[in-house]
């Protein structure tokens, strides 16, 4: 999944690239092993087979776990607080800033 031309292989295989883009893509395939092999695989007729139900079920649960992980907000932790709340020096600076800002009003 590293080559930026990933979708071009599919577009070429489906005959959706124009002549100029096709020529450019084939030229790229002469040097890019990944694209050339993908192209070769896309032009073979793939034998169809059913996905084993257990494999599909494992993929669905893995997907759910992954999505849940991504969507669960990170717990709030004190360590995320600004340092001013944790050290006396920080408190002094915060207090000084407060005084300065109230004095300027």
């Amino acid at each position: 999944m590293n080559c930026p031309r990933s979708e071009q292989a599919a577009a070429y295989a489906d005959g959706r690239l124009d002549a100029a883009d096709s020529a450019r893509y084939l030229e790229h395939c002469a040097d890019c092993d990944e694209c050339r092999r993908t192209l070769a695989i896309l032009h073979q007729s793939l034998p169809e087979s059913a996905v084993p139900p257990a494999m599909e079920a494992r993929a669905i649960s893995a997907l759910r776990r992954s999505l849940d992980r991504e969507r669960t907000p990170r717990p709030f932790r004190r360590t995320n607080l600004p340092r001013a709340h944790k050290s006396p020096a920080g408190l002094l600076i915060a207090a000084a800033l407060l005084v300065a800002s109230s004095g300027s009003c």
Partner: protein
């Protein structure tokens, strides 16, 4: 007219945002996608592994199958959003799977246990595939010469010799008549011999 089911329109520009509709608790669109396109991922994974390695172990097929499907939804469906409807969704998924499988094989190959075979099993009967199997020195010279010949000649040689494709498969990829493949190969080999200075 766009091909594929509605959630195929999730990728690309100016289309529906991925967030809501694809959350598994809100309609199970991801499950639907797995059920509809999972077989294409599975077939491409099995085919690529079998053709490149000679066999496809269930564990490897599942690693690729699951890796591709998780990769599509990972990072807020970042990968899926790259799909721009320039091909059918099924062809795109097949292409993504083939690439993933090739990378997977390369990673496994680094561990030292796998070997590459010809992509096209029907091509093994064809004669004259010995251009790259000579002495090590000759082979290195040939590989260096490959970098000097025109891209089209380089591609046809690689498809035929490296990937082991048949004349028919090479013709389909290059969109040329089958009977043009042999003369093109002969010309490409001559060009290569000239650059490699092999008599």
């Amino acid at each position: 007219m766009r091909s594929g089911p509605p959630y195929c329109s999730l990728g690309g520009h100016g289309r529906t945002a991925v967030g809501g509709p694809l959350h598994p608790r809100r309609g199970g669109a991801w499950e639907l996608l797995i059920r509809e396109f999972g077989p294409a991922v599975h077939d491409a994974a099995r085919f690529t592994l079998r053709r490149v390695l000679g066999s496809a172990h269930d564990e490897d097929v599942e690693n690729v199958y699951q890796g591709v499907l998780l990769g599509l939804c990972d990072k807020d469906a970042h990968r899926l959003k790259l799909f721009q409807s320039r091909s059918s969704f099924k062809t795109w998924v097949t292409s993504v799977t083939a690439r993933f499988a090739l990378n997977y094989i390369r990673t496994e190959k680094r561990k030292g246990s796998l070997k590459y075979l010809a992509l096209d099993a029907s091509a093994t009967d064809l004669p004259d595939r010995d251009l790259f199997t000579g002495e090590v020195e000759d082979r290195e010279r040939v590989h260096r010469a490959l970098e000097k010949i025109p891209p089209r000649e380089k591609l046809i040689l690689k498809l035929f010799y490296f990937d082991g494709l048949s004349y028919k498969a090479v013709a389909e990829i290059l969109r040329i008549p089958v009977n043009s493949v042999s003369p093109l190969l002969i010309r490409a080999k001559e060009s290569l011999r000239k650059h490699a200075e092999i008599p």
